[in-house]
Amino acid sequence: MPARTLGLAAISVAALALLVWVLVHWRLPGNDAGYTPVQPIAFSHRLHSTDLQINCLYCHAGANTARYAGMPAANVCMNCHRFVAAPTQAVKDEQWRAAREGRDVRRIVSDAMRTLYRAQGLDDALRPDPKITPQPIAWVRVTQFPDFAYFDHRAHSRVGIECQRCHGEVQTFERTRQDQSLSMGSCVACHRESNRQGVNGMAVQASLDCVSCHR
């Protein structure tokens, strides 16, 4: 085969590979569906929201009052986790073992809780440990809106749009992920539909102006 044909074949294969790569990885800005990063603490929304029935706003307090829903400070976690240091089953197992061995029940601290306590410079018994520098928890952002688009939680949560409408069935997630595309098409489709059908039986005027989001 002449070198020219070989060269053309190589270029075609490369171009095809590029095309496949582009088709696989092509995403519109805001579309991060399926992104499930590993977090510094293995937090389960399923456990907190479904099993324990904690309201979304207990932790994401800004959703009704601010542009950003916000992430809870460590002291919000500590409202409960001052007392709850390990899963119920682990505590029960320890109580059972202690009873069998005829000793005092030891305090069980799970790995996740240990990370939370250490971040605040506390030891397992929640005493401040001078050897540990308090270091805020750096959660990995799951939902990132593109910088060129403006979004305000208040306008959406106040008319009663459920969190799940955009964030998916978060209360069932073991590890938080972006559930659906948040690209421009999804915003516009929902705005159009809301204008036609209303939200929760109320007529609404969801803006379709460019400047509403691209300001």
Partner: protein
């Protein structure tokens, strides 16, 4: 002839097309991973996602404007002017807006360094205590106006210097206005820069003074200028400035003709004031006697409401300006000497003196804080050599710049948005600086957070540390 010279238009367009397509592709994949750093303990007033505003003083330059820092989840994200601030009246310039970026600069130095290696503060304190005790020769502290115009910092520096026999605090400005102060020492007996009151001026003639753009306190002057626009504003300058573009009349003179133009105007004013001066007949190219006469007449008719400003660094020229303003009865009306500006405290003569002292090896201890003389001074390259010859040289800096990189002792200082402070932009008007955030970034060792220069000084003086230092100012 290399092969690049033979690139045809078509090849270039192909290459450019592929490059642009390749560059656009990452834009359609997911954005880089970002973290969401939360509070450990939520401040009582704040809730997640909500915006809090902190009033503080702008660190962008030495003008001392007021800013409102919008803080979200413990991090300042946007600056705006502080409404009703005595200096800036709610305005904020581009440099001020951008000053927030310095807070998140990844190149900031976060741990003290000795000979370039990260060490603890205890090592630095102990090392400096012995070095200071054994030091011979003069002690000099070199800062910018931001340290010198802060009453607390100034007091702490003079307390530190009080322990040494031959000690001095030298100040310089990158954009110097030293000649104005030097001229006032000669004409008024006090080395001050008067506060320019453009809002009280009916007629303003500015020589190379870009007072709406870069000169001394542009936001303050712009606020005054817009509140009460002068009836006549004439700008005499060699290149177009923002101020020149706003003037009623813009007179273009070559940089070298600034002096003769000024002299022609002042002579005309003096003859109107009855001083019997001979008005020079020869004028710089492009100027006519009629123009200068009209200018002098406008100023003279507006006596008491007229102002001549000059941005030149030539002391005799600035003395002429003082003379003109005196004849125009500007002092007390459009120029405030009782509550002078403290926004440019630099003294070029003292820096020249310091350079000579460094050359002769008279300086034994040198502390440079918040300045980068190797980059900023005209004789910078010479300073690189001189500084390394000083026996004890401590550099207090936010980042490793040209100067700090050479220092044996490098003490990191916090960003003004991370620390308490005060500032006196106008004599008698003191502005406070409050932290808007906890120290940004992770620290390798506990207790290695940056320290302000006065705290460094206080720690090195040991028992002499004042009450402010103990409170951790």
């Amino acid at each position: 002839m290399s092969k690049f010279d033979t690139t045809s238009r078509r090849t270039f367009l192909q290459a450019a097309g592929f490059t642009i397509a390749a560059a656009a592709m990452p834009g359609c994949s997911r954005p880089p991973e970002r973290s969401r750093v939360t509070h450990l303990v939520q401040p009582e007033v704040a809730s997640p996602g909500e915006r809090l505003q902190y009033a503080t003083t702008c660190p962008g330059c030495s003008a001392g404007c007021g800013v409102l820092a919008s803080v979200r989840d413990g991090r300042p994200v946007k600056l705006e002017g502080l409404p009703g601030h005595p200096v800036s009246q709610g305005g904020l310039c581009a440099a001020g807006q951008a000053s927030i970026l310095g807070l998140y600069d990844g190149k900031r130095v976060r741990q003290p360094r000795l000979d370039g290696k990260p060490v603890s503060w205890d090592r630095i304190d102990a090392g400096l205590k012995t070095e200071f005790a054994a030091a011979r020769g003069a002690t000099r502290v070199l800062t910018g106006t931001d340290a010198a115009a802060s009453p607390t910092t100034r007091a702490m520096i003079s307390r530190f210097l009080g322990g040494f026999a031959d000690a001095r605090h030298d100040v310089y400005d990158v954009l110097s206005a030293s000649a104005i102060a030097d001229a006032h020492r000669a004409t008024h007996g006090a080395r001050v820069i008067p506060r320019f009151r453009f809002d009280r001026a009916d007629v303003v003639v500015a020589f190379e003074a870009d007072f709406l753009g870069t000169w001394i306190s542009p936001v303050e002057f712009a606020a005054a200028y817009t509140r009460q626009r002068p009836r006549l504003h004439v700008q005499v300058e060699s290149r177009m400035t923002l101020t020149g573009s706003k003037a009623d009349r813009r007179i273009v003179v070559a940089p070298g003709d600034l002096g003769p133009t000024m002299a022609a105007l002042v002579a005309r004013l003096a003859s109107r004031a009855g001083h019997g001066v001979v008005v020079p007949a020869v004028l710089p190219t492009g100027l006519t006697a009629e123009t200068m006469d009209r200018l002098a007449d406008s100023l003279w008719r507006a006596r008491g409401r007229a102002l001549v400003a000059c941005g030149s660094e030539n002391v005799p020229l600035q003395r002429l300006v003082s003379f003109a303003n005196e004849m125009l009865q500007a002092y007390g009306s459009t120029l405030d000497l009782t509550r002078p500006s403290r926004q440019r405290l630099g003294d070029d003569a003292s820096i020249a003196r310091l350079t000579r002292e460094l050359e002769t090896g008279a300086v034994g201890v040198l502390v440079t804080s918040g300045v980068n003389p190797i980059h900023e001074l005209p004789e910078g390259s010479q300073w690189a050599e001189l500084l390394t010859k000083v026996p004890v040289w401590v550099s207090v800096a936010e980042r490793v710049d040209e100067t700090a990189a050479l220092a044996r002792y490098l003490c990191p200082s916090p960003h003004p948005f991370e620390s308490w402070g005060d500032y006196e932009p106008i004599a008698g008007t003191v502005c406070l600086r409050q932290p808007t955030t906890a120290a940004v970034g992770r620290h390798a060792l506990a207790g290695c957070q940056p320290r302000r220069v006065e705290r460094c000084a206080a720690r090195c003086r040991g028992a002499a540390a004042g009450p402010l230092a103990r409170r951790g100012v």
